[in-house]
Amino acid sequence: MARAVKTQRKAINTALAWAVGLLIFFPILWTILTSFKTEAQAISDPPVFLFFDWTLENYAVVQERSNYMRFLWNSVIIAGGSTILGTIIAIPAAWSMAFVPSKRTKDILLWMLSTKMLPAVGVLYPIYLLFIKLGWLDSRVGLIIVLMLINLPIIVWMLYTYFREIPGEILEAARMDGASLREEILYVLTPMAVPGIASTILLNIILAWNEPFWTLNLTAAKAAPLTAFIASYSSPEGLFYAKLSAASVMAIAPILIMGWFSQKQLVRGLTFGAVK
């Protein structure tokens, strides 16, 4: 009897999980499907789900009209660069907060996180002016720095959570063994925290890859990443849903594939500390 109830509950939970999963995935699925429709089918009412004339035409047009590889390369440089730079800065910061906390460490962490609650548009004007002054508009360097700063609080927080799980005695042992601070972080802390650092890096690549606000506002043509590539298809010349969808799929495909292959790391990163 008890077993029957248990099995039943498990079945309900599984069904619920699938339902929620499909609900979340549906927009992406719909985008993918739409990208294979003709423009007419894309806006047909009632909408067609699977039974339409599958076509690759949209991809061909998108490929022809814009230089996908250039946008992709910009995205790779900007997302990768900002994440690497952020991680290099965040590791020592998280080290000091995790292993030599002061009375104000908690406050600093919260203050850092609070900057994420600020509406980005609130600082658009000053940052835009700064970019003009520095000559960083439409440059990859400028975007790398801005995205790094935007995501830095999250990188520090995640690494801080990981580092706190590492026993302090091991770092003290390294100190006793003659390691300088740099050597302690490089040879002992970082290798021990590799899983944590990996999931932090993954999450931040995704965040930077998908970041639309700054990438759209601070770039024009030269440094524009895939977000701008998508945006260029939501044009005032009329709604071309199918082509917009094709562009979207091309933009998210690389990150989706990366995410798929590193699911384990990502889940661990996102739930770390929450579950044992």
């Binding site: 026993p167 005695e169 091991i170 003290e172 042992a173 390294a174 100190r175 006793m176 063994d177 003659g178 390691a179 300088s180 050597e183 040879y187 002992v188 290798p191 021990m192 590799v194």
Partner: protein, 334 residues
């Protein structure tokens, strides 16, 4: 060389003073044990010497040089931690090599020292394993190996045996003692176990609430404890303390007599009592006697096996040559 001198060393955490100003000298080559109950500041004192904690005040000298402000890496001390603190991502070989790598020692010399340390510590077959694949005793040996290869001025041990089971502990205790005889290097060893202190130390420092109660050789502390705390802490089973009229007869507030300095008789004696629990160990018999005025229960240790049981009436004769007398403040009366 490894002479360590603490001059008026003080440690506070915020408003709480854990170690009031304290002076201590540890001679070169000496095996010194810091012993005391938990929270007495013995580990903090060791960490101050190591440089893992900053002193609030005072001076720490190592071989005559002021080391108070030196980082741990520059003090040429090696430490063995209670949790072993091995680097989990490195093989045993790399763990042992780590301090030499940090010192920039050449590879051939590193390999030579790893081989000799591994041989001395029975680790030769495990050099390519990770710490996670070793038993507790083996991990402790790796930690010791990592400490000895760099030939430090002194070794610091922070309760290194408390994570091991009882049998292994006795074995490792002897290994560490032998290591000390062989290397002849200063060792400072922290423990709460007075048996470890008595068996290993050249010099014992008894700490209580951050204060040094007494410094001396194991037998000095056993024979002439400076106060009631040391008298009660050193020796197992614990010294019996007797208060009241019995103590007054000896012009003292409290008198103390160790369990091994009392004779048991079934016919006559100074004190009379009833046997509560008798523990028969074969080599010894520990008898807990109730009803002795001013001390309940009184513990008696008799060599070998004697036929006493719960409820028996026994007579006790203390050996008055081994009587300890203490005044109202708990200090020894000479």
């Amino acid at each position: 060389m490894g002479r360590i001198q603490l001059k008026q060393v003080k440690k506070s955490f915020g408003d709480v003073t854990v170690i009031p100003p304290l002076d201590l000298t540890i001679e070169d080559g000496e095996f010194t044990v810091f012993v005391g109950p938990s929270g007495c500041g013995k580990s903090t004192l060791l960490r101050l010497i190591a440089g893992l904690e900053d002193t609030t005040d005072g001076v720490i000298e190592i071989d005559g040089k002021d080391a108070t402000m030196l980082p741990p890496a520059k003090r040429s001390l090696a430490m063995v931690f209670q949790s072993y603190a091995l680097y989990p991502h490195m093989s045993v070989r790399k763990n042992i090599a780590f301090p030499m790598k940090m010192a920039g020692m050449d590879k051939a010399e590193q390999d030579k020292r790893i081989a000799s340390a591994a041989k001395a510590l029975n680790l030769t077959d495990y050099l390519d394993r990770r710490p996670g694949q070793l038993s507790g005793g083996q991990r402790q040996r790796v930690a010791i190996g990592r400490a000895i290869v760099r030939e430090p001025a002194a070794f610091l041990f922070d309760e290194p045996l408390s994570n091991l089971d009882a049998a292994l502990r006795v074995g490792m205790r002897m290994e560490i003692s032998e290591l000390h005889k062989k290397l002849d290097t200063t060792m400072i060893y922290v423990t709460h176990d007075q048996v470890e202190a008595m068996t290993m130390a050249d010099k014992i420092v008894v700490l209580h609430a951050g204060v040094i109660e007494q410094v001396g050789s194991p037998l000095e502390l056993y024979r002439n404890p400076r106060n009631k705390f040391v008298a009660g802490f050193i020796g197992s089973p614990r010294m019996n303390f007797i208060e009241g009229p019995e103590a007054a007869k000896h012009d003292a507030q409290t008198i103390g007599i160790r369990p091994e300095h009392i004779e048991v008789s079934t016919t006559e004696g100074l004190w009379q009592g009833r046997v509560g629990v008798a523990e028969h160990l074969g080599s010894d018999t520990f008898i807990h006697v109730h009803g002795v005025p001013g001390c309940d229960p009184m513990t008696v240790r008799v060599g070998g096996e004697i036929p006493v049981h719960h409820g028996d009436t026994v007579f006790l004769n203390p050996n008055l040559d081994h009587l300890h007398r203490f005044d109202a403040k708990g200090l020894r009366i000479q």
